[in-house]
Symmetry: none
Subunit: 267 residues, 3 copies
């Protein structure tokens, strides 16, 4: 095997080459504030609202940036893609990144269409052990979440807080052992990216948060996501989800005091 | 938390609903033989060659099926997506699945454009511990690989065999600790899906294989994949890569003896 | 205690001294192709068939070599002896080594007298962790197995492929915990040498394979090996087992293309 010491490139160099390669967008065009999504429709809606161009249509990830320096990137599904975008964003050093994701609700109190502002995420299988030891919890930047929660209150929207279980696993609803393990962890929801975005953001000193929309309740009767249910969630809740994200990251850029404080969130 | 025992659905029911939801393709239209790819261009090229329709243009995964019952599916990047498609394919019970992927070469003897027929894959972080214990190796179906290797010999194409290291990790080239660990495992290449396709295929009793194209040599000077190098690999090698996959899975369907033997590969 | 730094000998020097010491055979008399067996009877049968001498009658291991440069060595039972012979063979650098072993069948589909061509082996307790990290799977050389499978097909013999569990443990049939663990690993058979031959072969860059004969089915009623059942297996199947091994390693020496390809199998 080739000598592992022979060619130490810097992470910065890789990130600077890869961010444009994946998004079809020059590094300097990525805004200071970044919304992350798994849904092309969110990018489309964003571009329409602000009359801006969508880049990366022929790439892995699509992006759009408005005149206020707010970007949105559709990075795909799962921890590998989530870790990758959080690594590549070290090239543009954003001031804050907010993930607008969907999750499965796991509590009686969580219903489809609810918003969850996770206080932490459990690093299930496949969520970035190479970045920091397993004992380090995957957490959002507090002041970013505080700001998002203020926005939710202003809009008179209810939200839940709690811990998300993040895993590589998709089809698990039939797996009794997995369900028991999940129960023992007492999470409020389950998804595939949040822990990874938090822990890689922490490792890379990027302020990060997540505002999740409950799109299914997989452990209740008829609660597993299906074609019909998913379409209904998108129809009813996706627009307000994106609006909240835009509002939060736009507002935070306008408030000098908050921005100043944000740098302490990096660690 | 909701009682984990309250709603045990079958995996089959989930797979039957999700396969069409993800691919925009009815279960019965997926062929007996399936090529998996991470590249939309492969699906496009396949559809053009056989004059067949691409389904799922508005979905996560795109698919096309020719008149011989051979399908191709672009399932995306990374282990979560790889495990998901291998779970969803239990709905259509394909006779064989061949992954046409790209990998990074890790040996002096592997150069860009070489083909690798992996004899096994190391289940690095994020590659499906929930399916089978870590001690179970991630292996391809022998008779499928035997058939693919015959095709390579017929075309007078050289190929390498060896072990692939599969990981969730993307940007690792700068990470000395990761590189040392990688070296101790002596793999011939590194990718993000092969071990997952093998182990989930084993768990789901689906005959599976992988024909990988070396698209970069990340541990040599100037070897990390860049926009330019990736385009060059695609231009020169992608067409023959897809052709080999089509040939192999078409040929195997025509040879009764091989099909009969394939069932023993399930375990 | 002896100073650990005082006398660093090379592995090559030890192997060159030990191979004749263990087998009673000069290094240069060992052929380019080597059959490994646990049975003196196989060596005896081989010597009779080719009219060649048996060396090492007064040693730990007995060997015989025919005029085509094919050797057979009875190395004894278990991983320690298997690792030892695979280390000692680095002295003669054989082009390929094929283990003709017996295993216990663990599937409904495996019956006494069936042949198994293992696609890999699980490194159970005692099977050579000192050679390579546990994450590295124990695998045969693909092109050697491809050739052996062609021979089986030519002879119109059915064979199974699958994973072998290799362990130091002998008497385990009564041990419920061990049986449960074994079941969770889903192996097709259990033996005491295959994983060790594969992993030490990999570490030593020796092309290696295994053709196993199912000699008992230990998890079914009356399936545990007894003197009578073992004699029956030997009577019926041992001769064809050895013939297949001879055919495969003789044929592979005659086919230039295959030999050339074999060098890639070393890793």
């Amino acid at each position: 095997m080739i000598d592992p010491d022979s060619n130490i490139v810097t992470k910065e160099a890789v990130a600077k080459d890869w961010l444009p390669r994946y998004t079809g967008t020059p590094v300097e065009e990525i805004g200071d504030y970044v919304l992350l999504t798994n849904f092309y429709a969110y990018v489309d809606q964003f571009a329409e609202r602000f009359g801006c161009e969508i880049t990366g249509q022929d790439r892995r990830m699509q992006a759009a940036t408005n005149k206020d320096g707010l970007s949105i990137i559709n990075f795909g599904i799962g921890s590998p893609n989530a870790a990758n975008i959080m690594d590549m964003l070290t090239a543009s050093k954003p001031k804050a990144v907010l993930f607008l994701g969907k999750c499965g609700g796991l509590k009686h109190s969580t219903e489809i269409g609810h918003f969850i502002l996770p206080i932490g995420a459990i690093r299930g299988e496949g969520t970035s052990d190479d970045y920091l030891p397993q004992a380090v919890p995957a957490l959002p930047s507090f002041k970013l979440h505080k700001f998002v929660s203020d926005k939710l209150c202003e809009c008179e929207l209810e939200y839940r807080t709690g811990v998300i279980y993040t895993t590589n696993r998709r089809v698990w609803e039939h797996d009794e052992k997995f369900r028991q393990k999940l129960k023992s962890y007492t999470p409020i929801g389950i998804d595939m990216e949040t822990a990874t975005i938090f822990i890689v953001g922490h490792a890379n000193k990027i302020a990060r948060g997540a505002l999740l929309l409950v799109s299914d309740v997989p452990t209740t009767p008829d609660g597993i996501k299906t074609s019909d249910s998913d379409a209904a969630v998108s129809r009813n809740w996706a627009e307000i989800h994106l609006e909240l994200g835009i509002d939060a990251l736009t507002g935070i850029g306008e408030k000098g005091e908050e921005i100043k404080h944000l740098r302490y969130e990096n660690q």
